[in-house]
């Protein structure tokens, strides 16, 4: 991946991952390694949290499509390697934002919920 082209977004907007896309891959340990490493990256990179969550849903049986998506997140990280969380002074007011996609999963119609909680200007969760 060292020679990979940087990419501007961690996932393709509007395209949902399904467990029936692409061809199944036999060896899943590489995929699991990558996704596990990406999960650690979400500590300081909330911007990839959604994409990584999507990838995590196919750890048991991933396909070529999911592997491409995982590589895309890596390429996105490459283009934004200097990003991180910035904490600054501000109020101590707690703000919460959330959104749900109302049965957005193409496989089983489960919903995905996302949230962000800010303490003043700082994203904490």
């Amino acid at each position: 991946m060292t020679g990979a082209k940087p990419y501007q977004s961690p996932c393709i907007s509007g395209k949902k991952l399904s467990k029936f896309d692409g061809d199944p891959l036999p060896d899943s340990s590489l995929y699991r390694h990558i996704v596990g490493a990406l999960q650690i990256c979400t500590l300081t990179r909330p911007d990839i949290a959604f994409s990584v969550n999507q990838l995590c849903q196919f750890l048991h049986a991933h396909t070529t499509t999911h592997f491409t998506a995982a590589k895309r997140v890596l390429r996105y990280l490459k283009s934004t390697i200097e990003h991180g969380i910035y904490f600054s002074k501000g109020s101590l007011q707690l703000y919460g934002y959330c959104d749900s996609d109302w049965a957005g999963s193409p496989d089983d119609r489960h919903s995905t919920t996302g949230y962000g909680i800010f303490l003043g200007p700082c994203l904490i969760s």
Binding site: T2, L43, F87, L119, G120, C122
Partner: protein, 312 residues
Amino acid sequence: MPEIFAPAESIPSPSPDISSTTQPSLECSSLPSRMITRSVTGSLKPKQLSDFHLYHSTKHPLKAFHTIILPPEPTTFSQASKSQHWRDAITAEYNALISNGTWTLCPRPSHKHVIRNKWVYKLKQKSDGTIDRYKARLVAKSFEQQDGIDYTKTFSPVIKPATIRLILALAVHYDWIIWQLDVSNAFLHGQLTNEVFMEQPQGFVDSPQSDSVCRLHKSLCSLKQAPRAWFQRLSQVLLDLGFMGSTVDTSLFVFLQEAVRIYVLIYVDDIIVTSNKLTAISDLITKLQYEFSMKDLGPLSYFLGIQVHRNR
């Protein structure tokens, strides 16, 4: 500094002269006119946001991309005993174990099985990739432990990421100093509640009592209950010092007395302390150093693979 990915500036983006000759024929053949796109001009550099900071680590989980050549780590005792570096490392570890009172020799018990052990060898690297030190560790073969006999409970809490971020945000807001501590040989401080017997370590078998075994008093690395024993020990010390365990996150300890507030975050043997009084931190460090051998790492800079920069 070894980095996994090259910074964005040094990524070879398609140079303008190549893209002007080859790219347009590929990219723009389907377009109605010769539109100037970013792929044509070659300006694929990401927009850099000034309010983001560099958080890049060398202990990254993806560090397999590193290409620094190091001497191979030995896998067996006979390999390691050929090198002076590793022999010194083994002796140092053995002396640390003995001075810590980790075990006492006793006759081989007939009613219990004895777990075996192994030396493992690890090269510690500095952040620039050079050799920091040779480290040997005595580990028990914990897969030989039996549930209910050699250990009962193994769960040990660790800090939640949201708590780290919350405490960092609070510290920034109140302009508190954040201090980092590291406990050396953390697992060796844990007191064992179960009776565990272990063979004598290779290379240090006591010749007159060669059939004796070690009865463990303190926990050893890789014992199944080691993290739990350590956490219980540390939390007990903190509670005795007047800290309260947070009800939200068990690895967060809070000290509230009059005007002094201290927050302590624990991730196994990495400890972060933040407080509104600088003297309170140094007091706490002195008290903890009385109990454990600890390294004072100074202001927080690197924690759990996260690099922290502070500009105040």
